[in-house]
């Protein structure tokens, strides 16, 4: 009987997390449009519902009823699969992130994480690289030269920034002594890793921005030169899926920053999930804020920065942190 209960618990947890996550992702799009509007001294969407609160719903319905176009030149199977790959990777990353402690429900101890696996951090890195396949394949399969250019840029950028991204989290592994995200959160009781390991936090934010293709690293879809790049031929629900995947990925990266550097779900007075959401939305606010602040970089500058500045700095950071831990300073 116990196995059946465990199975039911897993299924319910999965469904609840995915539904809640999709709700937050939908409203992150509204938050971005509202905040970006305010940063550019305009009101942002405010027509659908009070304060524009029903805008995400209207967007969803609209894109659902648009005509779905598959170009003649497209590689049809891959063209259809690509948005799904993006969304799948972004959602499955969330499986290992702990968003609360344990709660007791109906007499059962429930751990607020979907899969508490031993190699959680490596799993996150692995899934993040798979998410980029959606962008690369979508751009290529469109059979459009701008799409291929966007795909090439996405691939090159991912290869360049994945290395600093991996190196930036090594310090947290050294400090926590574990790859399990639950144990990493537990190790930050009393002091967050952002205090002990501030440069790692900065490097992770920069490399993470490149990973989710946001300004100033939004090379694959830079609209002024590539006319939207990898998603140029996409329309209707497939385009919407790419958009949802992008925002889900942004939400997940914010959740990873929260877990690795900002103490995860832990905090005084309020329950764990509430603290988790507060911290995640603080990071998302930063992502939107910097999008409204910085211009897009030039492509060769991004490559130069990744290999010749970020990579040596993150390497140095790992060496210094390891030395400090070995000497007993941290």
């Amino acid at each position: 009987m116990e196995a059946v209960y465990t199975l039911i618990e897993m299924v319910v947890k999965n469904i609840v997390v995915v539904l809640v996550l999709m709700g937050f992702v939908a409203y992150t799009t509204l938050l971005e449009r509202k905040l970006l509007g305010r940063l550019q001294v305009r009101p942002g969407p405010n027509r659908v519902g009070p304060f524009g609160l029903l805008q995400p719903l209207a967007d969803g319905v609209k894109s659902f009823f648009k005509e779905d176009i598959i170009p003649d030149e497209a590689d049809k199977t891959i063209y259809v699969l690509a948005p799904g790959i993006s969304l799948f990777a972004a959602l499955s990353m969330f499986a290992v992130i702990p968003f609360g402690g344990t709660i007791t429900l109906l007499g059962r101890e429930i751990n607020l994480v979907i899969a508490n696996i031993d190699t959680g951090l490596l799993y996150l890195l692995a899934m993040a690289t798979l998410g980029e396949y959606g962008v690369v394949l979508g751009g290529w399969a469109s059979g459009n030269k701008y799409g291929v250019l966007g795909a090439l840029r996405a691939a090159a950028q991912m290869i360049s920034y994945e290395v600093p991204l991996g190196l930036a989290v090594i310090g947290t592994i050294i400090l926590a002594g574990s790859l399990n995200l639950g144990e990493i959160v537990a190790a930050q009781e009393g002091m967050w890793f952002i205090v002990k390991y501030p440069f790692g936090f900065i490097f992770y934010l920069v490399a993470g921005l490149a990973e989710i293709n946001r300004t100033p690293f939004d090379m694959p879809e830079s609209e002024s030169e590539l006319a939207c790049g990898f998603n140029i031929e996409y329309s209707s629900m497939k385009f919407a899926t790419f958009m949802i995947a992008e925002y889900a990925h942004m939400f997940t990266v914010a959740a990873i920053v929260t877990t690795l550097f900002l103490g995860g779900w832990m905090g005084p007075w309020l329950p764990g999930p509430v603290w988790f959401l507060i911290k995640v939305f603080a990071v998302i606010f930063f992502f939107i804020w910097e999008r409204g602040t910085y211009p897009r970089l030039r492509y060769d500058h991004i490559m130069h920065f990744g290999w010749k500045v970020l990579l040596p700095l993150t390497l140095l950071n790992v060496v210094v942190t390891a030395a400090l831990v070995a000497l007993g300073v941290l």
């Binding site: 890195l125 690289t129 090439l152 691939a155 090159a156």
Partner: protein, 177 residues
């Protein structure tokens, strides 16, 4: 309960093994190199599932991260960059290469068959039993062996990779003439 667990494991093993074999067949028979690369990614994935079934989670995740993620992305990048996907239809006409490939494949297959039927795989047990791995943690065990007992081999392998990088830079450098 244990019976169900083993049956489930067996089911997953069969599915993963079949997908691995099928996708590697698809990989070598596709005309478009991008499709081949994608089928290779599927193969890497199903092999990673086999690693998980063998309690080697670290190797499994590393396989997905390094091979299915980074290396295949590089392969896709190169194929797209030099536009191989439109001009690679010549492979079908080379009958000599096909013949040699067929002979080599049959030889390797016979070798594997001979190995399976003549060698009984009762080797000596290592010190890392499933229980010990569970209490030590998989990553910790691999890391301890890699940087402890086998550190020399590990460093030699890394020097080899470094030589590869230096060689690639040397070849790609612009010649001053």
């Amino acid at each position: 309960m244990i019976g169900i667990g083993i049956g489930f494991k067996w089911f997953i093993f069969v599915v993963a093994a079949l997908v691995a074999t099928g996708s590697s067949l698809m990989m070598v028979t596709r005309k478009n190199p991008i499709h081949s690369a994608l089928w290779l990614i599927v193969t890497f994935f199903s092999v990673a599932i086999l690693y998980v079934l063998l309690n080697a989670t670290f190797i499994a995740v590393a396989q997905v991260m390094v091979y299915a993620g980074a290396i295949m992305m590089l392969v896709l990048f190169v194929i797209m960059l030099i536009h191989l996907e439109w001009g690679a239809q010549w492979t079908s006409s080379r009958s000599f290469a096909k013949l040699m490939g067929g002979i080599i494949t049959i030889m390797l297959f016979l070798q594997i068959l001979a190995g399976v039927f003549t060698y009984s795989s009762v080797g000596q047990h290592g010190i890392y039993s499933a229980q010990k791995l569970a209490e030590l943690g998989n990553t910790r065990a691999v890391g301890g062996l890699l940087y402890g007992k086998y550190v020399f081999a590990f460093e030699v392998a890394s020097i080899l990779l470094l030589v590869g990088i230096v060689g690639a830079v040397l070849l790609a450098r612009k010649r001053k003439d």
